[in-house]
Symmetry: C2
Subunit: 146 residues, 2 copies
């Protein structure tokens, strides 16, 4: 069975050895030790860490992750709590995506507006505000003419 020493593991998962020791200190990832106390990581650890990275990637904080890990260690009795926690994180992530999309929409309107100025397809002197209002009108119009 394949095992990895910390340096190899770090390279494999794209983290530094520092970070791996830090995660271990925080209780997120507990590698095995060989006879000389050197850490080694297994494929199981790869899967678990990748899962952790997915959770982190949703915006889950270190502190939430630590809570999750502690609950997990207490066995099936804590599944409800884990579900609650994960639901909270998922809700947050959904909100974040919505916010991001909303902000991005404004940014892309601005890009279009600049592009229009460059292409001279919109009036030289139409303000961004006026442009946004015009878009709103057109949107309304589109919606009415479905």
């Amino acid at each position: 069975m394949t095992t990895y020493r910390i340096g190899q593991f770090a390279a494999k998962v794209g983290l530094s050895a520092y970070t791996l020791r830090y995660y271990e200190q925080e209780g997120l990832l507990m590698p095995h030790r060989d006879a000389n106390d050197q850490r080694y990581y297994t494929e199981e650890d790869v899967k678990w860490l990748i899962f952790i990275l997915h959770l982190k990637g949703t915006g889950m904080t270190m502190s939430q992750l630590k809570t999750y890990v502690k609950l997990r260690a207490q066995g099936d009795a804590t599944i409800d709590q884990r579900l609650t926690l994960l639901h909270d994180v998922a809700d947050e992530a959904h909100a974040q995506i919505r916010a991001l999309q909303n902000n991005l929409a404004v940014l892309e309107h601005k890009i279009d507006w600049y592009q229009g100025k460059v292409d001279a397809t919109i009036a030289e002197d139409e303000s961004f505000e006026a442009y946004l209002n015009r878009l709103d009108q057109e949107e309304k119009h589109d919606r009415t003419n479905l």
Copy 2:
């Protein structure tokens, strides 16, 4: 015409007066001054700040914002550069949304898996890995049977 003193403006836009002075120091927002050097903000400032907050909300950094503002101050000759900058920010934001959605998908699969365990609709001892694999299979199956 309505104007706001810093405290009122802060309340209106949901930032602190500290932050507004900080933004001013960084050149993002330059309010007017009255005879006693007290700042006052106009509706124009409201619009501009809200736009800035949208940009920030896409992940645009302070430093990018400062660049943008500087370009803007130099007039129409810098529109191409502004477009390039905003495109970069938009691309980043799109990537962020994709990453978030991807990570969230994994999290939601995990939630479903826990829920399945609680409902006893999945086997007591099916691992998350096995569950993900099974989902992949079913997805493939679904795609084939369109």
